[in-house]
């Protein structure tokens, strides 16, 4: 059957649509042919696909062919069955007849004959030539047609239709089309069935030796072809897919050594989209086809159908794996194929796929994910093509022009070298080319990295080409000739490109193998047995490639470095652009970096920088530091070239902030040097720079600095420098952010002096001006290096910045500073609340109590109020004291005896001096409670007055009050001021009160002087004497001193003591005498006393005394007190008595008589009454609202001057209101109240009853 292949091929070429046979019985076709063919292609066909499902096909092309046509005649039956697909799918029998007789006799038998062949699907078109105006003819035609229908149509199937040549019925064409389609469908079904049966039969024999793939192929493709003709592309595609599967299954399992193919010229250009590349007959081999061509053919058929189905995406998605798997197949046969055919084929295949699919592809017609996938595959194809292209370029010596980037290295260094059976050898006439190459190699300088970064460049070769090539040279015995190349480390590690073979071996040779100099440059000896040198390999490869490559364009791209670069750029850009349209952004960006490298080489720094920035952003964004470290120097170099100082600086900073292990110290120092150099260069404007990744800062560990409101302070901050060397910051400032209030602008702390940051941890101290209360966190660190304004936002947790912590999320910041709300920081109180001695120099204690606040360097201003002065001649003492309230527990444990003594001195008092009202505190007193003892003297000019028991006078406490205004300046810069005015109570030691203890008959008065001790100290009275005022004298001519044996008299604190003086009334001094000399109106009590007291408790011996003779418990002090003695007062001379009221009680409106009795108590005296010659003026007073008084309210009554005379005054009164009311009172206006005694006294209130009810008023009329 294989010999049908050629025929099959030709059939396929001319037969491309469904054939409909026309059996022109009545020679009608020429007349109606045009009108029939106008209906083509069929608008809508409904066909069964292979799985017998209905498929609608639009615009199905077809052809009407007369059965008499040569194309349909003279076919052998065998051919017919094999190439059945080209046979007519329907037979249209055209008849006409105008006579029933004729129909019966001639036409009917003829038609019977025609339609008896079952194989054919037929139907009859009756053409009526009757003109519509000709009724007879029309009728006849109808009759004949009816007959025809009756004869040939069955109930199952209508096989007739009528065509009016002069105006067909409206639905004729539709009818015709549906009839044709019915036939086509049936035919198709039958043929599909036939082919399927045949194919099944054949595939059952698949593993038999007789099996012939070509036969199978012809059948299978016939079926596919038939589907294709019927526009059932999906089914056709499926057939091809099955065919491919079957081929792949059988082709390699046969065990037969088959030719692979690919040896013809032009085979290097992929024909995977070109069906007609080679006729199938050419690729037949035995019972099958050559793999090389056939697989491409199948793929071409598939892609043709896919394009027809408008599925270019599927072409790519099948194409890419196809290229890969085909490439693998090429590897298997590489030894037989021309040199590098595989690479060249892949390049052309990729380009062909890319071109075909992108020209068929319309944007937006497919779902977005399909679209993305499409672009991804295009990118893959581009990138595959790019890799192979680079490989070819490397082989012919453009290796040094290929960037040794990770992407190139990843794709090239894992790609094995081509493995030809024999490495191409050098053509005889190529020595000049070799020399040229050699020159290029020598001139090529290895591309050095910027900043002097030393890196081993990444390999582009899977192994050393020199060795690989020489190993594959048949003529070279596998001796150790090339071992000398192996031992060159520079080649193995790839640190220098292969460009240096001419120098390195020489050096190597010099070191240990002098005789082996045959490969030194210029030493051509033409010997085929010596290993090839690199330049020779390049030239040989170039020649071999030239033979392989038939595509002029591709060869042109490899002909020169410039052309290579152009093609390389084109491919790289194609890949990158397509990847950018797909999901694979990373691929795209990385390839952008490759484009950037080329741009950079050509001085197109702007483009290069843009692309490098994208790459760097990609790597930095996801923390791929190693990769970033590879690209970032390039970006920096671009920026340097573009004079983009800000960018360059930030790149340098980024370089510095990468993992320390990625660059050597020297390199990092170079980065820093660049930063510093630029910072101090003549930049016009200060350049801002973010160094957050490099300089980080944090507060010191431990609790935040706590400050009181208004205090300045110093803030110590840890700054981590990522610079490899010391770096000098011209200025530095740090903002503080209040946590409580975001609106409050950040406050900057500035340190204008230059700071040198060491690498690693630095502690920087900043002066902190007073801040508002609240807590603060560190904000931003800014500073200046030369013209460079840098800022850092990142906080470190007390360590260096986490280099892999690239996602800088907001860390919970710890307050660094707490400024407290204003609170009392210190308290000044008087140490002693009890009174001190007035008019004596006394210690005033002032307790200075710092409240969690240091009083270091505090200064106390003392300003005494009126009546108080500081004994400036005397030193001021200061001592510490334990405060019970603060540390009661401690003290009571340690020293139980002192627990009540709040002022127990812990320390010897320190002596301070008062300087202009200021006292400076010592350091020891800064944290502990201390007491300050100030010697003061309260001055009081007035003599203390004693009080008598008759009219006791309470001494006003205000008299002894003195104030001391204190102002304490403290805090770091005396910014805190505490002002307080302390009241100090001064008093005399005693309060003196007197009373007459007894009055003797002889007129001697015993005057008892009671001394109340007013101080908390025991007083000792040594002496007391009384200087009496006029009118009093001491009895017995004494000097007024009590018996001396009383003394010394000790008076405990706040107790009393009494001294009795015996005095008597003396002569009153006359008026004239009074004028002559000042009469003594007051007696003076003098007390000489001593005091023994503690200043910590209260009054104590005066300061001066204590300082002179501290061992003497008390020195005598004099206390003077004025006493006013009054001469004794006489008894009252009149007594007024209120006589009892009647027992019936008082009623409103009832008269009552009020009676008073006045009695003279003394017979004679110098009282007022005597002067009025026995007349006594009386007056009754009463509230007129309560009482109505009848009688004289005021008048004189005579009262005898004799003692005991009495008189009764009675007044009639009427109470007016009920209740308790004041009764009327009797007063004696002329007599002093003191001379009147009320005996018996009148009541304060009397009860007045309401009036008795008068019933008469109540009787009704």
């Amino acid at each position: 059957m294989a010999n049908y292949l050629a025929q099959f091929q030709t059939i396929k070429n001319y037969c491309d649509q469904i054939v409909i046979a026309v059996e022109d019985v009545s020679d009608l076709w020429p007349n109606i042919k045009d009108r029939f063919e106008e209906q083509l292609p069929f608008k809508r066909a409904c066909l069964n696909n292979k799985t017998r499902n209905l498929v609608f096909v639009d615009n199905l092309p077809a052809e009407f062919i007369l059965t008499t046509d040569a194309r349909l005649r003279s076919r052998f039956p065998q051919e017919q069955s094999l190439f059945w697909f080209r046979e007519p799918y329907a037979t249209v029998v055209l008849v006409t007849c105008e006579d029933l007789e004729e129909f019966k006799t001639i036409l009917k038998p003829r038609l019977r004959l025609i339609v008896q062949n079952d194989e054919r699907e037929w139907f009859i078109v009756f053409v009526s030539r009757a003109h519509p105006s000709n009724d007879n003819a029309t009728k006849m035609a109808k009759k004949v047609y009816a007959k025809l229908e009756a004869e040939f149509s069955s109930k199952k199937r209508e096989r007739c239709c009528k065509f009016d040549i002069h105006g067909p019925e409206a639905n004729f064409w539709e009818d015709l089309e549906s009839k044709i389609m019915e036939c086509v469908k049936n035919t198709l079904d039958r043929r599909v069935q036939f082919y399927e049966d045949e194919i099944r039969k054949l595939s059952e024999q698949r593993f038999m030796p007789v099996w012939n793939f070509c036969n199978f192929f012809v059948l299978k493709e016939s079926l596919a072809f038939m589907f294709e003709m019927a526009h059932l592309h999906e089914d056709a595609l499926r057939e091809y897919d099955e065919l491919e599967l079957c081929y792949l299954e059988t082709v390699n399992t046969g065990g037969k050594q088959r030719e692979f193919g690919g040896l013809d010229s032009g085979d290097d250009q992929a024909a995977l989209l070109n069906i007609g590349n080679k006729p199938l007959t050419q690729i037949v081999q035995d019972d099958s086809f050559r793999e090389f061509e056939f697989r491409q053919y199948l793929f071409a058929c598939q892609s043709k159908l896919l394009f027809k189905l408008n599925r270019p995406f599927e072409v790519v998605s099948r194409g890419y794996p196809f290229v890969i798997s085909f490439s693998k197949a090429l590897i298997l046969h590489e030894s037989t194929l021309p040199f590098c055919l595989r690479e060249v084929w892949v390049i052309s295949a990729c380009l062909a796929l890319i071109n075909a699919t992108s020209s068929h592809y319309n944007d937006g017609l497919v779902a977005s994910d399909i679209e993305k996938e499409f672009y991804r595959l295009q990118g893959d194809l581009y990138s595959l093509c790019r890799v192979k292209f680079m490989r070819l370029a490397y082989l012919i010596g453009y290796g040094m022009d290929i960037e040794r980037s990770p992407v190139n290295s990843a794709s090239l260094s894992m790609l094995p070298w081509p493995k030809p059976a024999v490495w191409p050898s050098l053509p005889a006439d190529a020595s000049s080319q070799v020399l040229d190459k050699e020159k290029v190699i020598l001139q090529a300088t290895p591309r050095s990295k910027h900043f002097g970064i030393q890196r081993k460049s990444l390999p582009l070769e899977p192994s050393v080409l020199l060795r690989e090539a020489n190993r594959r040279r048949a003529s070279l015995s596998a001796g150790n000739m090339f071992e000398m190349f192996d031992s060159r480390p520079s080649l193995i590690d790839g640190s220098t490109p292969d460009a240096s073979p001419s120098t390195s071996p020489l050096q190597k040779a010099k070191t240990f193998s002098m005789p082996r100099t045959n490969s030194s440059p210029g030493n051509f000896d033409g010997s085929m047995d010596r290993p090839m040198r690199l330049a020779e390999i390049y030239v040989a490869a170039e020649h071999a490639l030239k033979r392989t490559i038939s595509n002029a364009d591709l060869w042109k791209s490899l002909s020169s470095l410039e052309e290579f670069e152009q093609k390389y750029l084109e491919l790289t850009k194609g890949a990158a652009d397509n990847y950018h349209h797909s999901w694979w952004k990373r691929h795209g960006v990385v390839l952008d970096g490759e484009i950037a490298a080329v741009c950079f080489r050509h001085g197109n720094f702007d483009l290069a920088a843009k692309s490098y920035e994208k790459v760097c952003a990609l790597y930095a964004g996801e923390g791929w530091q190693e990769l970033l470290a590879d690209v970032l120097p390039n970006l920096a170099e671009c920026q340097k070239m573009l004079n983009d100082q800000a960018g360059y600086l930030s790149s340098c900073v980024r370089l510095l902030s990468l993992d320390k292990g990625l660059f050597s110290t020297k390199e990092r120092q170079a980065f820093q040097a660049e930063v510093v150099r630029l910072a101090h260069s003549e930049m016009k404007d200060p350049v801002p720079l973010d160094v957050s990744s490099l300089i980080t800062f944090s507060g010191n560990l431990g609790p935040p600095l706590e400050l009181c409101d208004g205090d300045p302070g110093t803030l110590s901050v840890t700054v981590w420098s990522g610079f490899p060397d010391d770096i000098t910051l011209d200025s530095l400032s740090l903002t503080l952010m209040a946590t409580f209030n975001a609106d409050e602008g950040a406050k900057a702390l500035r340190s204008s002096t230059a700071t040198v940051l060491k690498p690693g941890r630095n502690t920087i101290t900043l002066a902190l001006p007073p801040q508002k209360p609240g807590s603060y966190v560190l904000g931003v660190l800014t500073g200046q290096i030369g013209q460079l304004r840098f800022r850092s936002h990142s906080f470190s947790k007390g360590g260096p910045a986490d280099s892999d912590d690239f996602m800088s999320y907001e860390k919970p910041t710890r307050p660094i500073l707490k400024v407290f709300k204003p609170r009392p920081l210190v308290d000044l109180t008087a140490a002693v609340s009890s009174a001190l001695l007035i008019n004596e120099t006394q210690w005033v204690g002032i307790i200075v109590r710092p409240i969690d606040y240091s009083l270091k360097g505090a200064v106390l201003h003392i300003d005494t109020g009126p009546g108080l002065k500081i004994e400036e001649s005397h030193v001021i003492e200061m001592e510490s004291c334990a405060n019970v309230s603060q540390s009661a527990a401690d003290i009571s444990n340690v020293n139980g005896t002192q627990k009540d003594c709040t002022l127990a001195a812990n320390k010897e008092p320190e002596q301070l001096s008062l300087d202009d009202g200021r006292i400076e505190f010592s350091d020891w007193a800064s944290d502990v409670n201390s007491v300050l003892w100030i010697p003061v003297l309260a001055i009081s000019d007035t003599l203390p007055k004693g009080s008598s028991s008759v009219n006791p006078q309470k001494q006003s406490i205000v008299d002894g009050m003195r104030t001391i205004a204190l102002k304490l300046e403290f805090g770091a810069s005396h910014n805190q001021i505490f002002e307080k005015t302390i009241a100090v109570h001064f008093t005399d030691p005693f309060h003196v009160s007197t009373r007459v203890a007894d009055k003797c008959n002889d007129g001697t008065l015993l005057l008892q002087v009671i001394l109340h001790s007013q101080v908390k100290a025991s007083l000792t009275i040594y002496d007391a004497w009384l200087e009496l005022q006029d009118g009093f004298v001491h009895t017995g001519k004494g000097n007024g001193r009590p018996t001396s044996s009383f003394f010394p008299l000790v008076i405990s604190p706040t107790s009393k003591a009494g001294i009795l003086f015996s005095i008597c009334l003396g002569k009153m001094i006359g008026e004239d005498e009074l004028e002559a000399r000042k009469p003594e109106t007051e007696s003076i009590l003098n007390i000489r006393y001593g005091i023994s007291g503690e200043r910590t408790i209260g009054a104590h011996p005066p300061v001066a005394v204590e300082s002179v003779r501290p061992e003497v418990a008390g020195q005598d002090l004099i206390f003077k007190s004025a006493l006013v003695l009054q001469r004794p007062v006489l008894d009252p001379c009149l007594a007024v008595g209120f006589l009892p009221l009647p027992s019936t009680g008082l009623r409103v409106g009832q008269l009552v008589t009020m009676k008073w009795r006045i009695e003279r108590l003394k017979g004679f005296g110098d009282d007022e009454i005597s002067e009025q010659s026995g007349e006594v003026l009386y007056e009754v007073s009463a509230n007129s609202e309560n009482w109505m008084i009848a009688g004289r309210k005021r008048g004189h009554v005579s009262l005898s001057t004799n003692q005991g005379s009495r008189i009764v005054i009675s007044i009639l009164c009427v109470p007016l209101v009920a209740g308790y009311v004041r009764p009327p009172r009797l007063g004696l206006p002329n007599v002093d109240e003191s001379n009147i005694s009320n005996n018996p006294p009148g009541p304060h209130l009397v009860c007045v009853m309401p009036p008795v009810l008068s019933s008469s008023f109540c009787i009704p009329a």
Binding site: L384, P406, L458, P459, D493, E626, L627, D804, D805
Partner: protein
């Protein structure tokens, strides 16, 4: 031969990359691993395509290239494991097995209280364990 294994954090940041090649060409493996994230992302973002394997941690072959293979594995915490191998015929079961053991090692490593989540894994024990797993790769076929 396994060329490289990597642990990639959920923000696509490398947590651990170890190459097992002799040449000093780790950078190209970094590149391969980094680029393979494109594929992982694509699979994760297109659940339609991954279909029934959505809930599976093993992502399978990511890269059908000519010369090496990249396999992926995605943990529940979106941490990715990437395996680059130059073996061209690798059995899926072996890779699955590898990833399972690798995952266990990873879980142990990050369970270390001294490990900061999201930071690079610096544990030597982990590195040792990984290299053991890598060495034994493909030896035991019991998937």
């Amino acid at each position: 031969m396994i060329a490289c294994v990597a642990v990639i954090g959920h923000q696509n940041n490398p947590l651990y990359i170890q190459s097992f090649t002799e040449a000093d060409d780790a950078l190209k493996l970094h590149h391969i691993v980094h680029c393979s994230l494109d594929v992982v992302e694509e699979r994760v973002n297109n659940p339609k395509k991954s279909g029934p394997t959505l809930n599976e941690t093993f992502l399978g072959l990511l890269y059908p290239t000519e010369n090496y293979k990249v396999y992926g594995y995605l943990t529940n915490t979106k941490v990715k494991f990437i395996l680059v191998t130059t073996d061209l015929d690798v059995r899926d079961a072996d890779v699955r097995n590898f990833f399972r053991r690798f995952h266990a090692a990873y879980v142990d490593a990050v369970s270390n209280p001294f490990h900061v989540p999201g930071k690079k894994i610096t544990s030597k024990t982990f590195a040792e364990r990984v290299s053991n797993i890598v060495k034994s790769f493909g030896l035991s076929s019991a998937g």
